[in-house]
């Protein structure tokens, strides 16, 4: 790993504690999602982002309320970081009417439009041009909003990534391309199918874009890097590619035990758990263990209540299946 830990970073302890709590909230929600999947209460599939929390929370903290975020099927952390509640996320996963998308989307499609979380996309790379389009829209409307697209290392080998970067560069769009490089596609190591060592960052120059490779498990580093890139974007200086190195703590999806990963690699990365890194930073900033534990306790309460709330929620009315296709709310395609 080429990440050098920057110990000169300064951060306000109070703010960092908030970030810690937010990361803990995501972690606990993912754990709940896992348990619910294993118990059969979540059907289909689910791609957990445990381990990736620092990317979502650090980036989100550097954004404005009216900025746009685009995520992948592994997107629970981004939904929560943008303000979706664990209850509405879990309800979506559990096929409940109170889900974020009324149980029409599912785990892979969490969307919270009124918080600028413009969707989780399940076709790898598809959202990169869409994010560029949202940034183009901001430019056209003369707002100084920024769009951020989060994507996996695997997405860097698909054509849409290249097209999106080029268009965004030519049009100088206020968009950030943030890669969550967790070393794997589904089960295949990204290095075995990629022509360059840094799948996202090494492609930036091909479109005249600046790139940063950072420790994606350190929320402070993520925040600070994204902040600079956001400022560039708002100033009209165009897109930035950020490659955040991170690791997933569960398998790729469903019950994948991720046996294809060497034990020592897993061990090494577990040592670099984003929650642990944040906790260490907090302690070194003088925050007491009790305060941190209190955050954990609050989170546990919220998520436990969320599970209950989602469990208690009703399944959707079957009639809902035939709504929401058109802007008039209906689904009529013929007379």
């Amino acid at each position: 790993m080429t990440v050098s830990e920057d110990t000169s970073i300064r951060v306000d302890a109070g703010r960092l504690l908030e970030w810690y709590e937010e990361m803990a909230l995501i972690r606990r929600t993912e754990k709940a999602a896992y348990d619910l999947f294993m118990s059969g209460e979540v059907k289909g599939t689910t791609h957990l982002a445990a381990g990736h929390e620092a990317v979502a929370v650090g980036a989100s903290a550097a954004l404005r309320e009216d900025d746009y975020v685009f995520a992948t099927y592994r997107g629970h952390h981004h939904a929560i970081a943008r303000g979706a509640t664990p209850a509405e996320c879990l309800a979506e996963l559990m096929s409940k009417a109170t889900g974020l998308c009324k149980a029409k989307g599912g785990s892979m499609h969490l969307t919270k439009a009124d918080k600028g979380m413009l969707g989780s996309y399940a076709i790898v790379g598809s959202h990169l041009p869409i994010a560029a389009g949202a940034a183009w829209s901001a430019k056209l409307r003369g707002t100084d909003q920024v769009a951020v697209a989060f994507f996996g290392d695997g997405a860097t080998n698909i054509g849409a990534f290249h097209e999106a970067m080029n268009l965004a560069a030519v049009w100088k769009l206020p968009v950030l391309f943030v890669c969550e490089n967790n070393l794997y596609m589904e089960y295949t190591p990204i290095a075995s199918v990629t022509s360059v060592p840094n799948p996202a960052a090494d492609r930036a120059a091909a479109n005249g874009l600046p790139a940063e490779i950072i420790d994606g498990n350190d929320v402070v580093i993520v925040h600070d890097t994204v902040k600079v890139a956001v400022e560039r974007a708002r100033a009209g200086d165009g897109p930035t590619v950020i490659e955040a190195l991170t690791y997933r703590q569960y398998g790729h999806s469903r019950a994948d035990p991720a046996k294809y990963r060497p034990a020592d690699e897993v061990e090494r990365w577990m040592q670099r758990d984003p929650l642990r890194i944040a906790r260490d930073r907090l302690t070194s900033l003088g925050v007491g263990e009790a305060d941190i534990d209190a955050a954990d306790a609050r989170v546990a309460q919220v998520v436990d209540a969320a599970v209950q709330e989602a469990r208690d929620a009703p399944f959707p009315d079957p009639a809902q299946a035939l709504t929401d296709v058109w802007a008039d709310g209906g689904a009529v395609w013929r007379n």
Partner: protein
């Protein structure tokens, strides 16, 4: 008589009218700016609205349509051009998986008011990869509205509806009709999406046609009138919403149905219309439902070969004759 204009000019006019009405309408596509489009269907737009409203893009169909989607989600009404409809295949993920599903998958949170315009169909000798009529490609995907006008006035009227629509609309401009002429659309002309037009009334048989096959059907009908066969021609104008009622009520009078499609027989749009009539109109029918569609082969380059493949007036006349005497 009203002033005449070309179908080609009607495209630019239709877009310009909406761009004047609504400053959130923005165009993007390859060579659409100063070059005014390779089919000259964006003439005058760059001059009138400038580079802030008319954007030249790289050859990046995914980026074009993807960016249009992102913009549509966030307050813009993009009108994206895909130069030839065959290139829908290069951005089909957006057409099939993203745009039509966005609103539904988000439980209605996000609305997608965009138009994707494209030059569709054959007749100009562009060969297998630049001549396809692909309305049926997008017809396989619920969640897209589909317009395919056959006259200049309908181009303007449907363009108005398409651009004003809060739903995504795929707008097919037929290459073979670009040079054709018709009445100029009056000011504020709007044709609602999903209303077929009876473009020639008749009693003996109903032809349902779309875009280029409308003039083909009309020529056939004219010829058949001389043989005392009275053909009603229904121009569907849109595939979604589909005006099935117009078809069924015409068949209720004529009892005979012929569909004329430019796309290949297998998987053609006419099959769906036929299946609706074979179900809901079964008791109205006095004869088989027939389809004159393209042969199930790629489009050959040579005219001598192309005529074998695509629907022609002769083929339509022949099919009607056989159906009328069934």
């Amino acid at each position: 008589m009203a002033e005449l204009t070309t179908y080609r000019q009607a495209v630019s006019d239709g877009i310009a009218r909406e761009m004047r009405r609504d400053s959130s309408v923005v165009c993007l596509g390859e060579d659409i700016g100063a070059a005014e489009g390779v089919f000259k269907t964006t003439t005058g737009l760059f001059a009138e609205f400038g580079p802030e409203r008319v954007w030249d893009t790289p050859i990046s169909e995914q980026a074009i349509v993807g960016a249009a989607l992102g913009a549509a989600m966030t307050g813009i009404r993009p009108v994206a051009e895909i130069m030839f409809s065959d290139f829908f295949a290069c951005c089909y993920d957006y057409l099939a998986n993203e745009i039509p599903k966005m609103r539904y998958m988000t439980g209605g949170q996000v609305t997608v008011p965009l138009v994707i315009r494209t030059a569709n169909g054959g007749g100009l000798g562009f060969g297998a990869q630049h001549s396809q009529a692909v309305e049926n490609w997008v017809f396989t995907v619920p969640g897209l509205k589909i317009a395919a006008p056959s006259t200049p006035a309908d181009v303007v009227g449907l363009m108005a509806s398409a651009i004003r629509s809060d739903d995504p609309v795929i707008f097919f401009e037929h290459k073979g009709l670009l040079a054709s002429k018709g009445e100029l659309a009056p000011p504020d002309h709007v044709v609602p999406l999903g209303e077929a037009a009876v473009v020639r009334p008749g009693d003996d048989l109903t032809i349902v046609a779309l875009a280029s096959t409308v003039p083909t059907a009309l020529s056939a009908a004219e010829q058949l009138a001389g043989e005392d066969i009275s053909v009603e021609v229904v121009d569907l104008r849109c595939l979604v919403p589909l005006d099935a009622k117009a078809v069924l009520s015409s068949v209720a009078r004529t009892s005979r149905l012929l569909l004329v499609e430019e796309n290949p027989y297998q998987g053609g749009w006419g099959a769906t219309v036929a299946s609706i009539v074979a179900d809901e109109g079964f008791e109205l029918l006095d004869a088989p439902i027939r389809r004159v569609a393209a042969e199930c082969v790629p489009l050959p380059f040579a005219d001598a070969l192309e005529d074998v493949v695509i629907p022609t007036v002769d083929k339509v006349v022949d099919a009607v004759r056989r159906l009328a005497t069934f």
